[in-house]
Symmetry: C2
Subunit: 609 residues, 2 copies
């Protein structure tokens, strides 16, 4: 029999995957849509690359949430399908996997599902495309192979058949024996996966996923309140284990544990045990990069390209201040924090606190003592709290007195590019300290935990956690590889970034590409496939998408219609990049586009190297 | 309130944990029994160490599977409890956590549970000990806090109260509000843990745990047979993703994937696609260590200490043969495989095949091509298959013709120590290639997959997979850190080992400690706490346990009464150790004792360094 492999089975970019499949002797591949979307190769180029490698393209997958929907959704879904049929025609693949819907819009109506799948098959038939319908084991209404087979029979169209995936079949209790009786020719595709029999019950949950108070979702102040109401006066004792703590540095874990209890007691004890309240924060005052002779010049060029001006020079240290509106970047050539040679690092950032003294007292009470900055007489007092990843968090006064440490350079102000403030920092966290970092920023600085996301990136699963203050003038996006980052690929590990806000990203992008600028912003190339997919996913005008495409701007929309427009620079100074964001009632971080950015960073690096 | 932490919350040995808890400012600790069992400190020493650090011992935990059992089990459980009360007296701790039973022996009878817990509390009362009864969320009959409270009320004894653990309470659907109404003084202990709300359903199972055919538990030959019976003639396509593959080298993953399909087809296709059948294997012919000027002398001394004789010297290479009965070790000073300086490595092992040529043909057909050994004219032909961890697997003939490559040294045979054969090899696998290794040994060599185990070790979770041939003359134990090994502790990472069999481990151990031997075996110290726990767990005579203790022999018993007696050497040559095993109708590998060995290796290293 012919042997195929889905591109999702192996790590890397589409190029890495095709090479690996061909070298291992596979006859064909399934193209996983996300691999295509993040690829700089057009579908035709992918087709020709596969042909060169002797690989047939056997399946395009997956097409989601199609069937059993109201008429207006059906119209949109058919339009979406036509766009994917276009891609398939260019790829030269004749079968598409349509998996059973998990959409809340889908209704439990087999007849409707069959009739809509028949319409899809009819359209597919005019283009010689076959629809392989697959019951996802967690499909909303259709989740077993026999149910999908009943619907396919009911629809009764030659271009509609089944896709059987051994995982979806064997992970459910429906007897697979009946498969042998399926009408010959109606199994369009077979996908194979093995798996251990797992009982993902409360025991596994407990063994692998306990967290210290404040790192998870339980209402522990409420729970402890009940216990205290019953007259309990013994200790509060932590009983926590998970895969990470079991192998992490015990000294660090114990401090994290202690911080969790102190923060918990602050919410349940009487005033006697109250911590100094977290003062209101008013923004990110500056971000400091540690640079050396290699990364420094590269960052200076990039800052000029972004419309920044070198406005100040520190009185006593080799430290430069660069500004544009309220965006401030400090380049520090004297930081001794260990880093790879040539790799710039976010060594510090400063938050503006309504009461810096109280911020530091709170940190101290939470086992995060402040380290006074080494300073000369007359220089501003800037104390730093050390975050779990080693970054110094300076706490500044609302009057920005730290700026008086810098002498004006007299460099004429650049025209700028409309950047307004620092929107957020993207901080890749050390693997062992991700949950510790979340608790640190929440308890020490009083930032709220907005959301935790997981997504598949080209080199492994990623987890992100966003924290912010109530008015969103301080936002941090913490990220970590869920398992670890693949070490086989020579790419950028753990990049950090600074995102600046603009009110009009199109105007900003246009300003950045103005020929007058000393060094135009090097734009990160975004694949055309991404924009084709955007057009299929969202009802956006062709003109708008063309504009996004011209400037390499990415787009995201949240459940309530809020929109994010954003663009990235390439990786600079070895480890960092900049992002420009325009938010329209949007409170997230464009995580859906992170894999596109990662693949583009890797492609750029491969093409440079 | 006082703040405590369970020792299980942080990584390392008990010493590491106590230091970390004290440094973070905790008032007290819960002693997790396994941490005590693997510690070389007596309970009194632990008590005094805690006192020095300003830590109180607030709880001893856990005591499992006590209540609602038949009378003969109750008697054994009460005896077991008395032994733990002895330990508690030495520790100076007055509260023990008794968690609700998960034993198949337990019956669903609250009255019986209450009456037996009352008996336990009565005995505890005479020693001023309190029993804190906790409902495990996955307890067999008692799994909710309100149920445990009803039983405690029914038992009605002053030395019996509740332990409440926020995880067990909040992970279940029973309303915690009623906790506030528990009789004051009856909550003996409170344990806190947070957790994310997780839905460990089939979706998570699919996203994180799919495997290539033959690596999991599904009956895929049966499944594919059904699909083929329905007339399917499309490709067999792999649709597999898990956390490891997502970040691993795609070239390696693709080869692994291809091997899985070839092996699967061998079980479903007609004779046309059959692989050369795996020939019968007759044993491990030899194990080769790559050594250098530092690790070589250390291994030679150890082999002499184990009663081996340097019997042969290779005709053309700097390679030595050491023998004792059918145990053969080869020390190779010419292997160029990358390794840390001074660290010996198992660079190769040889299996005896009934048909070496066919073994190699099968390997070749499974994308594991053989590499011919570089050899001089007249030397035996030894081809090697390269295992996923880089180890060369030589396939030898039953007549052991490879031995003719060695010239006899004429060294007089040592008296030996009763070692008979190589029982098994312990091979720590590279993180990314554990499942690949399991499939490799199963498909290429035809070894059966015996069992996969997971256990908590001092530096993180471990997973082991045992493979063997039907008559058990070839056994391999593959291990890997489930997440990764803690990098904070300067200890032995990924040790490899060779286990030799004996028919009488007591006699062997006595022979090894005979003063006549050139260099007595350095024995790995096993903690007294381990033997105290052994006495509580198994009905073994005091004499027998004293003998085990004298020689540092560990003990395990399987569900059907089979017994393992085994002992370990310290780590030698940087990365390896030896084990001596005596099996009595026992088919496992003593995994339960691995944490004891790991802690002892770390203690030894700390005390040397």
């Amino acid at each position: 029999m012919r042997r195929s492999i889905a591109t999702v089975c192996v790590s890397g970019t589409l190029g890495d995957k095709l090479t690996a499949a061909a070298a291992a002797g596979f006859d064909g591949i399934e193209i996983f849509e996300n691999d295509l979307v993040v690829s700089p190769w057009s579908p035709k180029e992918i087709r020709s690359r596969c042909a060169d490698l002797g690989l047939s393209i056997d399946l395009y997958q997956p097409f989601r949430d199609f069937e059993a929907v109201p008429p207006e959704v059906l119209a949109r879904n058919l339009d979406r399908a036509e766009r994917k049929f276009d891609v398939m025609a260019e790829l030269g693949v004749d079968t598409i996997l349509v998996c059973s819907s998990v959409s809340p819009a889908a209704v439990d109506d087999d007849e409707l599902a069959a009739s809509q799948l028949r319409q899809l098959a009819e359209r597919a038939g005019t283009r010689d495309i076959r629809i392989a319908y697959e019951a996802l084991a967690w499909g909303k209404h259709v989740s077993t192979w026999d149910h999908s087979w009943r619907i396919v029979q009911q629809a009764d169209h030659p271009n509609l058949g089944l896709c059987l995936d051994s995982f979806h079949v064997l992970s459910r209790e429906v007897d697979p024996a009946g498969i042998a009786g399926i009408t010959p020719g109606k199994i369009f595709f077979l996908q194979l996966a093995d798996a251990p029999y797992l009982h993902m019950d409360v025991l596994q949950w407990s063994r692998h996923h306990r967290l210290f108070p404040g790192q998870g979702a339980f209402d522990l102040p409420g729970f402890v309140g009940l216990v205290l109401a019953a007259g309990y006066d013994g200790p509060l004792s932590l009983e926590v284990f998970n895969d990470v703590f079991r192998q992490a540095d015990p000294a660090r874990t114990a401090v994290d544990a202690m911080r969790s209890l102190i923060a918990l007691e602050d919410r349940i004890d009487g005033p006697a045990r109250r911590l100094p309240a977290a003062p209101e924060l008013a923004g990110l005052a500056f971000t400091e990069f540690a640079v050396d002779g290699q990364s420094g010049p590269e960052l200076r060029t990039a800052l000029r390209g972004l419309g920044f001006t070198h406005t100040g020079q520190h009185r006593t240290k080799p430290v430069e201040l660069w500004e544009q509106a309220a965006c401030r970047i400090v380049l520090n050539s004297a930081v001794t924090r260990p880093q790879a040679p040539g790799a710039a690092t976010i060594s510090a950032f400063a938050i503006t606190s309504a009461d810096p003294q109280r911020s530091l007292q709170r940190a101290e009470a939470l086992s995060a003592p402040a380290h006074p900055n080494v300073r000369e007489p007359g220089e501003a007092e800037l104390a730093a709290i050390i975050a779990p990843d080693g970054t110094s968090v300076f706490v500044t006064r609302p009057d920005d007195d730290w700026r008086s440490d810098f002498l004006p350079t007299g460099v004429p102000a650049a025209p700028g590019a409309g950047l307004r403030t620092t929107d957020h920092l993207g901080l890749a966290q050390p693997f062992d300290h991700f949950d510790e970092a979340g608790l640190f920023y929440h308890s020490v600085l009083g930032l709220d935990h907005l959301a935790t996301e997981e997504y598949a990136a080209p080199f492994g699963l990623m987890r992100s956690r966003a924290v912010a203050n109530p008015d969103r003038t301080v936002r941090l996006a913490l990220t970590v590889a869920l398992l670890r980052r693949g070490e086989w690929a020579p790419a950028v590990a753990d990049p950090q970034h600074v995102a600046f806000s603009t009110d009009d990203i199109i105007a900003t992008a246009a300003a950045l590409s103005r020929p007058g600028l000393p060094a135009p912003l090097p734009s990160l190339p975004v694949p055309d496939n991404y924009y084709a997919d955007l057009a299929a996913r969202f009802a956006l005008s062709d003109d708008f998408i063309a504009t996004l495409c011209r400037y390499g701007i990415l787009y995201d929309r949240d459940a309530s219609g809020g929109e994010l427009l954003h663009l990235y620079t390439p990786v600079l100074g070895g480890r960092v990049f900049f992002e420009i964001v325009q938010r329209r009632h949007y409170d997230r971080f464009g995580e859906a586009n992170a894999p596109v950015r990662m693949a583009a960073h890797r492609h750029r690096r491969l093409n440079k190297g």
